[in-house]
């Protein structure tokens, strides 16, 4: 068009022309099957090799039946899930070497392996992260980086503790240590949201925004910046405060319906299916497939070098 030349589709940019005449195309496939055949041949000749150390531990099956994960998956997020029971149905031989089991007990940390790949695990035993849990996590993440071991985050958190006493005890400063560690860590991170993923806890536990290599969810999990009730409550408080300041009368009926609307909206948009539709995750897993999916993901991680870092910048003290 631009030069006024008249040309047919094939002579201008057809597959035959590019394969035989212009030399632009490397291969000419007859159809989709042929294309896959040629593609496989090319990949077979890529001299591809994994850089990571690969699986180094026995990859024996868990001693507990993974089918039972269906009963262990959190459904009512107000009820804590037993992460040790979950781990016993995911990791090799149900072996889990817990680290600092008596300190910061709301966060379970420890060493295990999945399909022979060693991993460090951080798992929310109780939904709330306190200063102790934050410090424990920051410490553990540094250890994994020293040992060049990938980290698996098992999320079921409602966030960092709030309240006067905790603020005064420095929850922000301690939470910042954990966030600092997660942000600077260079070993592969795999995140599995088994239950709740709310608030800053979701970030600290290597949520989507913290770029884990893979992030999987279980079907009944919820992901949101705030819980529906909490957000509705905060909105209500803000409205009430604003009304009082302006000397307006507060419409209790409107407030009730606003709260319901916010709650329903957040509730719906925090569901795993909604989030996966936005590509926030790398897939919803049948809980029974967790071990397999983690194994494949770890294998993919080991395609590259698995290397931790020693430089985390400055931890807020």
């Amino acid at each position: 068009m631009a030069t006024g030349e008249e040309a047919g589709d094939e002579e201008l940019g057809g597959a035959e022309m590019h394969a035989r005449t212009s030399g632009l195309a490397d291969h000419l496939a007859d159809d989709e099957h042929d294309c896959i055949r040629i593609g496989r041949r090319i990949v077979a000749g890529l001299h591809w090799r994994k850089l990571g150390p690969g699986a180094t531990r026995p990859a024996d099956e868990p001693r507990y039946d993974p089918d039972e994960l269906l009963g262990l998956a959190p459904v009512d997020l107000r009820v804590p899930a037993d992460v040790r029971e979950i781990l016993a149905r995911v990791v090799d031989g149900s072996r889990f070497e817990e680290w600092k089991p008596l300190y910061g007990q709301n966060l379970v940390c420890g060493w295990a392996s999945v399909h022979g790949y060693p991993v460090g695990v951080l798992a929310n035993a109780q939904g709330v992260l306190f200063s102790e849990e934050s410090n424990k996590a920051a410490h553990f993440i540094q250890l994994a980086n020293r040992a060049d071991v990938p980290l698996v985050f098992l999320q079921n958190t409602t966030g960092y503790m709030v309240g006067k006493a905790y603020e005064q005890r420095g929850i922000i400063k301690d939470g910042a240590k954990m966030i600092n560690a997660v942000s600077n860590s260079t070993v592969p991170h795999l995140t599995l949201i088994v239950g709740a993923s709310y608030g800053a806890g979701g970030y600290g536990m290597a949520g989507r925004a913290y770029d884990p290599r893979f992030l999987f969810t279980w079907p009944a999990s919820k992901t949101a910046v705030m819980g529906p009730e909490q957000l509705a409550g905060v909105m209500s408080i803000l409205n009430r405060t604003s009304a009082e300041a302006a000397g307006r009368p507060f419409d209790e009926d409107a407030d009730r319906s606003m709260r319901e609307a916010v709650r329903d909206h957040i509730e719906a948009e925090s569901r795993a299916l909604f989030n996966t539709g936005l590509l926030y995750d790398d897939g919803i897993l049948d809980p029974r497939d967790t071990r397999t999916a983690l194994g494949i993901a770890l294998s993919a991680c080991h395609s590259g070098e698995v290397k931790g870092t020693g430089s985390f910048g400055v931890f807020r003290m």
Partner: protein, 690 residues
């Protein structure tokens, strides 16, 4: 005693003789042809001498080379086995001349027995009943017809020298006589170097009974009872047994006496066999015919001055080692007591396993025997081959003899059939199914056997046997599952991830096999815990499929409430299966059709389309030049890759070949013609007959 024995043979009999020699502390020497350089018998001998050559005439039939090998290795004895030089008096004479012990009768005896006419004359004179016959060497036309009339049609035409059924023909009409005699002469000449032929009365469906004799150098002759070799094909023995059902104690005594008389008549030394034809109806008296018929319903056929292929059945029922006895007698020892007082114990049946295809006219088969295992408790296997042996086309296609011995004939036949049915025979088609079909046939078990057995019961039907209709589907399923296990076992990444795992499963894993029953498409899926979740063949689920164990070589699969173990062996894309439903050979179809890029049409496009595309593309001259050669004519059928036209350009010859098989529709150029680049030179089309 013999110190070092040269075995002038190959294959199973060479191994058999070597085994006996080893058992007696005798050193051994093998001789071998070029194709046999890796054969088991060569490796098993202490020393081996290459004879060179490929055909028997270039190798095992070279008398001077064999004798020279014996001298070079210092062998003090030569065992000729059977066939080749076994009954050649010149080998025996050559050995005698060099002071080497020949394990067999003296050359004079071989000369008499090797001349069938002379042998018959001697036997008749010694009172052994013989069939009417006539030497017809040099006779033609009317003289030949007259000879045939004297013998009485139908007649058997056979070579005077040699054996093994070579050249044998039955003539029922006078008109067929000349052609049969001419053909027999040609074959005899080619096989034995002597084209003498004779005619002999042909008995319709006679039983073929032979008596084993053993004679020492001190005049002692004993017989070791009879063998029956009634199931034959083209006069080649297939199934042999001892004792014969048609022989009762009285007939056994008379046959034995006749055989001993025959051996004594010629001064026989060593192990030999006297063959008799038994008239149908068993051991009745003479029934008319020419005056030579004097026996009690049996006729001397010929004497074989060698160890017989089927000697193991006699060994089984007597407990003797005939090759050991041969070696003892050759060393001048008297017959030991156990041979003189031999008794019959139980029943033995031998089957000859050949590399040939009974379903395709017994065509000899060649190739690599990727696996050869015939192992069954209580069954003897005399094999010339093993795993990985190469079966060539130059020699007898006998792979092995399998022998079962049991208290009764039915038990022995059953045992032998089971051993053959369960044998692992991969890579080369054999007559195994036919043998199993014969051994399990009601007529065979009822003793209704004679030399015409395979005429009444067509080999192809016997070989087809009674196959479970589900066998094909189950074999294909087992092959797919085993291959899957093999791929998992060989996985270098994610080796412990469940086979075929998908986050969101939809399609089954699929693989197509080509087998005797056509294409079988297998679909399967494993669950997250590694359990089999779906298994189907050609879209039909296998009912109640349950996988007990699944490895690369063994699949333990339950279908329809029955659990079966299938052994799987893969060589390239061929899967060999063995199990309770028999055996199968399945070729895995490639998932993607490998073809040159730019060859045209999508998969499934018609050959016409492809040929048309090819005509427009590849059949053009690649550059300007001069046509130097046109290799095809219009209408000619060509295979893919066949040369069509040669164009010379830039001092180089460019070959234009057929991209696919087809018919040449047009040749557009002539030799000497100048062509431009891209100029079409020929047009190919789909052949009418596919």
């Amino acid at each position: 005693m013999i110190a070092k024995l040269l075995v002038a043979n190959r294959g199973e009999i060479a191994r058999r003789v070597l085994r006996a020699a080893r058992g007696m502390g005798i050193a051994t020497v093998a001789v071998f042809s070029d194709p046999d350089r890796d054969a088991l018998f060569v490796a098993e001998a202490d020393e081996a001498v290459p004879l060179g050559g490929v055909t028997p005439a270039e190798s095992y039939l070279r008398l001077d080379a064999v004798l020279e090998a014996a001298e070079r290795t210092g062998a003090d004895a030569v065992h000729p086995g059977y066939g080749f030089l076994a009954e050649n008096p010149e080998l025996a004479a050559g050995c005698r001349k060099r002071g080497i012990t020949f394990v067999g009768p003296p050359p004079e005896v071989l000369a008499v027995l090797g001349d069938k006419v002379e042998a018959k004359r001697v036997m008749a004179a010694a009172g052994v009943p013989v069939l009417p016959g006539a030497e017809v060497t040099g006779l033609d036309g009317d003289e030949l017809a007259a000879a045939a009339e004297r013998v009485g049609l139908p007649v058997m035409v056979k070579a005077t020298f040699g054996g093994g059924g070579i050249g044998m023909r039955v003539v029922r009409e006078p008109a067929e006589l000349q052609a049969a005699v001419d053909a027999a002469r040609r074959q005899a000449g080619a096989a034995f170097g002597d084209d003498a032929v004779l005619l002999e009365r042909f008995l319709q469906a006679p039983r073929h009974v032979e008596v084993q004799v053993l004679a020492d150098a001190h005049g002692r002759v004993v017989h070791l009872f009879e063998r029956e070799c009634s199931v034959q094909r083209r006069h080649q023995k297939l199934v042999e047994e001892a004792p014969s059902l048609a022989v009762d104690a009285d007939l056994r005594r008379r046959l034995g006496d006749a055989a001993v008389a025959a051996a004594e008549a010629v001064g026989y030394v060593g192990a030999g066999t006297v063959e008799f034809l038994l008239e149908p109806g068993g051991s009745g008296g003479p029934r008319g015919g020419p005056p030579e018929d004097r026996g009690g319903g049996f006729f001397f056929l010929e004497a074989n001055a060698r160890i017989q292929v089927e000697h193991p059945v006699t060994e089984a029922v007597t407990g003797l080692d005939l090759v050991r006895l041969q070696l003892l007698v050759a060393a001048g020892e008297p017959l030991p007591d156990e041979a003189v007082r031999a008794t019959l114990r139980g029943h033995a049946v031998e089957a000859r396993l050949y590399a040939e295809d009974p379903r395709r006219g017994f065509l000899p088969q060649a190739g690599t025997l990727h696996r050869f295992r015939v192992a069954h408790p209580g069954v003897r296997v005399d094999a010339g081959v093993g795993d990985g042996s190469v079966v060539g086309v130059h020699y007898d296609p006998l792979l092995a003899k399998v022998i079962a011995h049991a208290p009764s004939r039915a038990e022995a036949a059953g045992l032998l059939a089971a051993a053959l049915a369960g044998a692992r025979l991969h890579g080369v088609t054999t007559n195994r199914d036919l043998l199993v079909g014969v051994l399990r046939h009601p007529a065979f078990l009822a003793g209704d056997v004679d030399t015409a057995f395979l005429e009444r019961h067509p080999p192809a039907e016997l070989a087809a046997g009674q196959r479970d209709p589900e066998a094909g589907r189950l074999h294909a399923a087992a092959a797919a599952l085993a291959a899957q296990a093999a791929r998992r076992a060989a996985a270098t990444v994610q080796p412990t991830i469940p086979s075929g795992w998908r986050n969101n499963p939809s399609q089954l894993q699929r693989v197509d096999f080509e087998g005797e029953e056509g294409v079988l498409a297998v679909g399967y899926r494993f669950g997250r815990a590694g359990g089999l979740e779906a298994l189907e063949v050609d879209g039909e689920p296998l009912p109640g499929a349950r996988l007990w164990t699944c490895g690369p070589d063994l699949v333990d699969l339950e279908v329809g409430g029955v659990r079966r173990r299938f052994e799987v062996h893969r060589v390239g894309d061929v899967h060999y299966l063995d199990g309770p439903l028999g055996h199968a050979e399945l070729r895995e179809r490639p998932r993607f059709l490998d073809r040159p890029e730019g060859s045209g049409e999508p998969e499934g496009g018609s050959p016409v389309d492809r040929a048309a595309t090819a005509a427009a593309g590849s059949l053009a001259s690649p550059l300007p030049g001069i046509v130097r050669r046109v290799a095809v004519r219009p209408g000619e059928l060509v295979a893919a890759g066949a040369l069509l036209v040669v164009v010379e350009a830039m001092k180089l010859e460019h070959r234009i070949s057929a991209p696919t098989a087809g018919r040449v529709r047009d040749v557009l150029v002539a030799v000497g013609q100048e062509v431009d680049a891209g100029a079409p030179v020929a047009v190919l089309e789909e052949a009418d007959d596919g």
